[in-house]
């Protein structure tokens, strides 16, 4: 190419190159900003990511921060200064007191800094170079406060995929379950027929009772209705068949091979002397003419031979208590730290027994909405606004979910047929459990710990600890 022509082409091409460079920089920046935004979104769903557990203040001199939990990362320093990974502003704690790191095989290793001292259970770190390991439930004596480690790294989480059959994927609002996933661009679907009318969108919300998913079982507790002999209704979501209590486990008294459902008349006849079952005393025409035998073949089967599942061991007592933790003889000697405080992993106290009895409800009622919480405390989430990880209201994760899945109103009688039931039943208070103002949106999913009330949460946490970590209850 002649030099003159090349010069002209090169002069023209510099604008082309500049345009491409602008495109490169712009797309790089867009990509960078997008991934930052996605990471923030994803981390909202993974509040525990990057942490191995929590250190809970169980005792302090002034009792100010008792109950406060700080999330423990894999590595870092602990001290009074705010620049530490774990800031414990207590008396006797140095600005940088100790260094910790997580060892997958041995636990949380602690090493003193600057000649500071601390204790883990009964072991003292009183010289440089010594390294102590904390396990789940270990206590850290630091200055005038005592912290207890609640470790969740290395433990599988309940409801995690693989631990149990995963729940069904809930389609977004307004989307039919059998509709091809329009959000997956890789799916090769059949071309849409022009003559075919588009399917009508199902009424909102998708959890209406006639749908296959989202049957609100958990929020409509049948066990509160003492009805062993009531007539089963068809196409009524209020009576799931597996909540029938008696004929499976309890042997019938009169005829073992003839369950109560095959007894014809007295079941459906009005029973004037049944004060506990006012619902079925009404001459409701919807329920009377039902034929019980053909619609319930499963109850005609003889009672299964298997025994009812044994209740899980509430506490495992398979290990022996160490000799040094046994109750000391009254020798007048000063008790050791383990005897004084009690190692909750091995030894339970009277408060635990009383607590367990108080909350040993065999059928806990899970309320999916926390309303009476004055201050919702979610310690695993970072605080951006200087509120020490506390929100004045629920965290935004729950707000977003409620907005997405909450029904806008219960006035739609098609979705909520019990609204058309007789008003006199309502006057008798039979609808109190059904019409209470509670969030029924998470009924399709198993309730998780963040959605239960304070008492239920305490109870479930205590039971989880006792079952898997040897007792002791929550700190």
């Amino acid at each position: 190419m002649p030099a003159e022509i090349y010069e002209i082409v090169a002069l023209a091409a510099r604008f082309w190159f500049l345009f491409l460079m602008v495109m490169i920089v712009w797309r790089s920046y867009r990509w960078y900003a997008r991934e930052r935004r996605l990471r923030k979104k994803r981390m909202k769903y993974l509040p525990d990511a990057g942490y191995i557990g929590e250190l809970v203040v169980v005792q302090s001199a002034n009792g100010r921060d008792v109950g406060k939990a700080v999330s423990v990362p894999f590595e870092g320093t602990l001290g009074r200064a705010r620049s530490n990974d774990l800031c414990i502003p207590a008396e006797g704690v140095d600005a940088r007191h100790l260094h910790f790191r997580y060892d997958e095989k041995r636990g949380l290793a602690l090493r003193p800094l600057h000649g500071n001292v601390f204790s883990v259970d009964d072991l003292d770190a009183d010289r440089a170079g010594v390294e102590l390991y904390m396990l789940h439930g270990s206590r850290l004596y630091l200055g005038d406060c005592v912290l207890r480690l609640r470790m969740f790294a290395g433990y599988e989480v309940t409801f995690a995929p693989g631990c149990m059959p995963p729940p069904r994927r809930t389609p977004p609002c307004g989307m039919r379950e059998d509709e091809p996933d329009a959000l997956d661009p890789d799916s090769e679907d059949e071309p849409m027929d022009e003559q075919q009318t588009p399917p009508e969108a199902r009424p909102y919300p998708p959890y209406s009772p006639e749908h296959a998913y989202g049957v609100p079982q958990a929020v409509q507790p049948m066990y509160q209705q003492p009805a062993p002999n009531y007539a089963p209704r068809q196409a009524t979501p209020m009576q799931p068949v597996y909540q029938q209590p008696a004929p499976v486990y309890a042997p019938p008294q009169a005829a073992p091979m003839q369950p109560v459902y095959q007894q014809p008349a007295p079941v459906y006849a009005p029973q004037p002397a049944a004060p506990m079952q006012p619902v079925y005393q009404q001459p409701a025409p919807n329920y009377a003419p039902q034929q019980p035998a053909p619609v319930q073949p499963m109850y005609q089967q003889p009672a299964p031979a298997y025994a009812p599942p044994a209740q899980p061991a509430y506490r495992q007592e398979t290990y022996e208590r160490p000799a040094e933790l046994l109750p000391a003889e009254d020798t007048g000697a000063e008790p050791t730290a383990a005897q004084w405080y009690g190692d909750r992993r091995w030894q339970s106290s009277r408060e635990d027994e009383a607590y367990r009895e108080a909350y040993a409800n065999p059928e806990p009622v899970f309320h999916p909405l926390v309303e009476e919480e004055e201050e919702f405390f979610h310690p695993l989430v970072e605080d951006d606004d200087g509120t020490d990880g506390r929100w004045d209201e629920e965290p935004p994760r729950q707000q977003g979910r409620r907005q997405r899945y909450a029904p806008p109103s219960t006035a739609d009688e098609e979705d909520w047929p019990f609204l058309s039931w007789p008003e006199e039943w309502r006057a008798q208070g039979l609808y109190d459990d059904l019409e209470q103002d509670e969030d029924q949106t998470d009924a399709a999913m198993p309730p998780r710990s963040a959605y239960v009330g304070r008492d239920e949460s305490e109870w479930a946490r205590k039971r989880f600890w006792d079952k898997y970590f040897g007792g002791g209850g929550a700190p």
């Binding site: 500049l18 769903y45 729940p167 994927r169």
Partner: protein, 438 residues
């Protein structure tokens, strides 16, 4: 195609495009270099080498940016930016090879391939080596031996004795030791073993001062100080380190004559135009002649600048492509550094975080020193522009640093995916998938 079908296809295409920003970026990068090498190959006669590079370099970019990440969860944005900068260096060197009879463009392309191998080694080193207790001492002792080698068998180039010749190939050990500096510093600082860290840094600085390689010594010192601050957060000690660096600079100015000359040339290059100020004066004139949009690819007079292919290659870029292009190049460096910092903050172990922070700091400091010197912000020192300057050792060390960074990112993604799997239900995963689309 019906309207509904068309709208549906359009929607799917929109979602697919939003999900693939890597292909959108890499396609533009490939188009840039394909057109640039095609233009260069038709400059005087049809150059078959240029034609080959017009397809080989985009293919190399495609392989390293989109194909290699299929085998490990690497950061594609980082890869795309680094590949662009490396290919830009190949392009500039190839465009300036014409009249001089050199072959730096092709050599740089080969070094680019070597750099990709070094990057893979860095990735696997960080991702799969979990026990550093013994290995780090081997690395430290080996690095000290390597950096001290020019004192025995080295040759002096431009006032610094930091080159050795092995089998006819020149090698700059201080560039390779940068990898060891990042690893050793990160390990000892994360374990708070201050004495080994201090001794290693002191030994490296002492050897570099004996070699009169002050630019590299500055990079080393600033990197070690940055890693120290990232781990401890101590403003007092870091400030003391800066004061010590200022004192060392004064001592160096008083002791070394070539430092005095460089400072004098920086203050007023036109007074020393015939001697020490010639290089910086030519650099400034080249940038000025380029203007906003440049003089055109392959045009101009870049070869009048001393060592235009290493230290002053940014001036050549500004001359041929313009100042706007140079500013956009700086923005790319800034995005690369921000990305490195985000990788460091996402690491869960302090060693990994400090490795990422050290690599990012080293690249950023080196870029600032050389571009600041070219733009006459600071005295010009003899360090290379990362990924762009000519030199196999520099390319391998910089790509090795990117490999360390990518390795940390691999570990981060592995752990995050594990958390994603074990701690979220299927419904939450579906919500997260929906969030990816938004």
């Amino acid at each position: 195609m019906s309207r509904k079908r068309f709208q549906r296809r359009t929607e799917e295409e929109r979602i697919r495009r939003r999900r693939q920003p890597d292909r959108r970026l890499v396609s533009v990068v490939m188009l840039f270099f394909c057109s640039a090498f095609l233009l260069i190959s038709f400059k005087e006669q049809v150059d078959l080498t240029g034609l080959a590079l017009a397809f080989v370099v985009p293919a190399l970019i495609y392989v390293s940016s989109l194909w290699l990440p299929r085998f490990f969860p690497a950061d594609k944005l980082l890869l795309a930016i680094v590949n662009f900068l490396c290919a830009l260096g190949v392009l500039i060197l190839y465009s300036t090879d014409g009249g001089e009879g050199t072959n730096r463009g092709m050599q740089q392309a080969m070094y680019y391939g070597l750099g990709i191998i070094a990057m893979l080694m860095g990735i696997f080193l960080v991702r799969y080596v979990r026990r550093w207790r013994v290995l780090i001492w081997i690395v430290a002792v080996g690095a000290l031996g390597l950096i001290a080698l020019p004192l025995a068998i080295g040759t002096e180039i431009n006032g610094a004795t930091n080159w050795i010749n092995i089998g006819g190939t020149s090698l700059q050990p201080s560039e390779v030791v940068k990898l060891a500096l990042v690893l050793v510093t990160a390990y000892f600082v994360s374990r708070r073993q201050w004495i080994p860290w201090f001794l290693f840094g002191l030994a490296c600085m002492g050897v570099l001062m004996l070699q009169r390689d002050l630019g590299t010594a500055l990079v080393y010192y600033a990197t070690a100080l940055m890693v120290f601050y990232a781990n401890t957060g101590s403003l007092t000690l870091t400030g003391l380190g800066l004061v010590g660096a200022a004192g060392a600079a004064v001592v160096g100015y008083m002791e070394f004559s070539h430092v005095k000359r460089r400072v004098a040339a920086w203050q007023n290059p036109w007074m020393h135009y015939e001697t020490a100020g010639y290089q910086i004066a030519q650099v400034l004139m080249a940038i000025a002649s380029g203007g906003l949009f440049g003089v055109g690819l392959g045009l101009g007079a870049p070869r009048v600048i001393p060592v235009y292919f290493t230290d002053c290659i940014f001036a050549v870029i500004c001359e041929q492509f313009g100042v706007l292009f140079g500013i956009l190049t700086l923005i790319l460096y800034v995005i690369l550094i921000l990305r490195g910092i985000s990788i460091a903050t996402g690491a869960r172990r302090s060693f990994h975080a400090l490795v990422a922070m050290g690599a990012t700091a080293l690249i950023g400091i080196q870029t600032f020193i050389i571009i600041g010197g070219v733009l006459k912000l600071i005295p010009l020192t003899g360090v290379t522009m990362p990924f762009v300057s000519y030199g196999g050792t520099s390319m391998v060390s910089c790509m090795g640093l990117i490999g360390l960074l990518q390795g940390v990112d691999c570990v981060n993604r592995d752990e995050l995916n594990y958390d994603y799997e074990i701690s979220s239900t299927a419904a939450e995963q579906a919500e997260m998938d929906l969030a990816d689309i938004d």
